[in-house]
Symmetry: none
């Protein structure tokens, strides 16, 4: 038996552990992104993750991981193995571990039925089985799928089991678990603000911030979180006086933003496409795109934002030169003279899209995403971007890298960032007039 966890580890209540269950993790077929998402969320809820362990779909491995975890951590989050199929063994294993039986949960059944009714689906026996839950657990509602989360208590630790499907796991964590964890947490507060930048790399930002960063108070930390095409900067504060900490954090955030005003596009969960959408909506302006190398990615990003139909009218993805002529009226002679990857062609694409779709702004891209298509003087990664607006056309030229997917992503972000900067000028001149 385990000794009293309070005696063996008095600090455990602000510690967490993550147990990821699934054979697919152990043969490298799946990267454990669930664990990093959960680790960040637990950290931001005030719990320091002390261990992440990935184990196979085997009962003994689950028991051993749980025995270890409840000694060290006040909160243990398990993911995986809760689906309706035969290889999912987490639920029976948890029953045996907690010495309880599977019983029909009317509450869980109603929550699952609600999802089926909402989607107009018929329930089968397997779906109904999902409402069979260990008697000792409190079910946590899953609004995105049929496997409820389960909340247990053992040796003064909370053990929560979540499904492995990322959006279901995230749904339950965000709506059911995070609010409960915040109530549990006592002691130190941890506050943070995330500032989002695009356009330059991590090391350039670090150079620009080095003098400022060296003067940060001890309880404040700055982390660089790079992703393709953007860098997130997270400023964290640690202490006991929340209001004072919050005020100081806000002051430091504003200092940081003023040092990076040309590359900061938003905060926390913002996206460039979301920020651009808000600005277009605020100005009652409309947008269209004419895309060659980005192949519809800019349109897809813009339309991923709910409500984008208010300002986005459409796009012509002119992948073939023939389509550039036929749908955008780009002169064949122009393409022959300058090539389709040129300032001249991308400017015509932008102004034609703007005219054809009657929009205030139009973005156009043309470039060589790779791996093929390079010509002398135009290596893979060459991209031209044009923005046509009420005041004329702005053009930018980039040379990105060799990786097709990242070139498309970076060109799309650069195009949206060009529009963002232009809309900022509009917003400033509007408020000044």
């Amino acid at each position: 038996m385990l000794s009293d966890p309070l005696e063996s580890n008095p600090g455990k209540y602000n510690h967490a552990e993550i147990i990821s269950i699934g054979d697919e993790l152990l043969i490298g077929q799946v990267v454990n992104t669930n664990a990093s998402w959960l680790a960040e969320q637990l950290f931001l809820s005030g719990f320091m993750v002390k261990r992440i362990v990935a184990i196979p779909d085997e009962e003994q491995a689950i028991f051993k991981a749980l025995d270890d975890a409840v000694v060290q951590a006040g909160v243990v989050v398990i993911t995986g193995g809760l689906g309706p199929t035969a290889d999912d063994i987490t639920k029976p294993a948890l029953c045996r571990y907690f010495g309880t039986d599977l019983v029909f949960s009317q509450l869980a059944f109603e929550q699952i039925s609600e999802l089926f009714v909402r989607r107009g689906w018929a329930m089968n026996d397997r779906n109904r089985m999902q409402a069979m839950l260990p008697e000792a657990c409190m079910p946590l509602k899953n609004s995105s799928g049929t496997a409820p989360g389960m909340w247990f208590v053992k040796d003064k630790s909370i053990v929560v089991s979540l499904p492995g499907v990322p959006f279901e796991m995230q749904d339950i964590f965000t709506n059911e678990l995070a609010p409960r964890l915040k109530q549990l947490h006592t002691g130190e507060v941890l506050l943070y603000k995330t500032i989002l930048t695009t356009g330059v790399g991590e090391s350039v930002i670090a150079d620009r911030l080095s003098a400022w960063e060296s003067l940060l108070p001890q309880s404040f930390k700055l982390a660089y979180l790079p992703q393709p095409g953007l860098v997130r900067l997270r400023l964290t504060a640690n202490g006991s006086d929340a209001p004072q900490l919050e005020a100081e954090l806000e002051r430091l955030k504003l200092e940081l933003v003023s040092l990076l005003s040309d590359i900061v596009f938003g905060y926390d969960g913002d996206t460039v496409e979301g920020v651009v959408g808000q600005k277009l909506a605020a100005l009652s302006k409309t947008l269209s795109t004419a895309e060659s190398c980005t192949g519809g990615t800019i349109a897809a990003m813009i339309t991923s934002v709910p409500g984008s139909s208010a300002y986005f009218k459409g796009s012509v993805v002119a992948y073939a030169n023939e389509t550039k002529g036929k749908l955008l009226g780009v002169d064949e002679v122009l393409i022959r003279k300058y090539g389709s990857v040129s300032r001249e062609v991308v400017e015509v694409m932008a102004s034609q899209a703007r005219a054809l779709m009657h929009t205030d702004y139009a973005i156009a891209t043309s470039g060589i995403a790779g791996p093929d298509g390079a010509t002398p003087g135009k290596p893979v990664g060459t991209v031209w971007i044009a923005l046509a607006g009420p005041k004329g056309i702005v053009t930018e030229h980039y040379l990105f890298g060799e990786h097709r997917g990242r070139n498309i992503r970076r060109a799309s972000l650069a195009a949206l960032n060009l529009l963002r900067k232009s809309l900022d000028t509009e917003l400033i001149s509007d408020s000044e007039s």
Copy 2:
């Protein structure tokens, strides 16, 4: 002290464990891609990874993880914490764990110097320090960086420490570790095949396979790995006779595929867009799209595939009704009569895109991605898809869920899958004619 590992776990010699060291993993700042890469490589070298554990840069955590690992596994691979900076504590911790001292390794020093000479860099004291290694270890050459790998033996287990920088870790594993592991390995092999499906959920597939699955030989396992819009099925085989196992696995795979022929689109790392691209290229056919609710996502998926310009001519993303009229020639009266989310409108969109861009096939989508836009009889998630081809138009109607992003993703996959099925018929009738 640990008991004799051979007595407590006689199977341990074909088992492996991975220990990932680094605070950044535990706050979710970094996704542990090293672990999945290593897991796959160890698996392919004949070692089944039984556990992956991520722990902080703390000596006690490293000791505990090692104690656990050497009992269970014949091979333990540690990554991280070997860099030249102050927070890297793995090397001194390993010295204490193995009861040995740091000594200057002439061999390691020469290997590090070689790298500096090759790159034309000057060595500093930090770099020289990297040649100080635990006396009990055999150094493993790092051709890509300054931190050598280290090979220890404890309780008949091999413990290898590798740097956390991915390309350095991969370099040492591939050139130094994998050849030694292959010599060590004896006994069982593990083989797998992954079958990719789209169109129906995990539980429907499980129903269709239940009779077949119940007759699977004991050494074969089937796992369901769902992702938004698709389900991967992994069939694993375990045994000693590799050629026989491979033949049996292939036979079972073909049986499974024949049971699910309408929904299987590919294998292993395939994507629907990649498979569709291969088929179009094989048939020398071309494609265009006319997208409303998918907002350019289908075009972006298709153009994510290298070489797609050979068969993809372009897309009209007709987000506004006005754009449907102006660019695709959809009659305003038709939209007023049936609504833009209707069989009638989506069919015209497809046939107009096909005619305008002179392609063999055209896909069109129109639907309500949400969260707004529902009308009586047309809830959020309603999607119409049309495929226009040489033999006419096929239309499909779907009712997906409530989540905007997933509706867009599922509609895009469904549209590409409709095209895939149609191209399969072409390929079959071509080979028959």
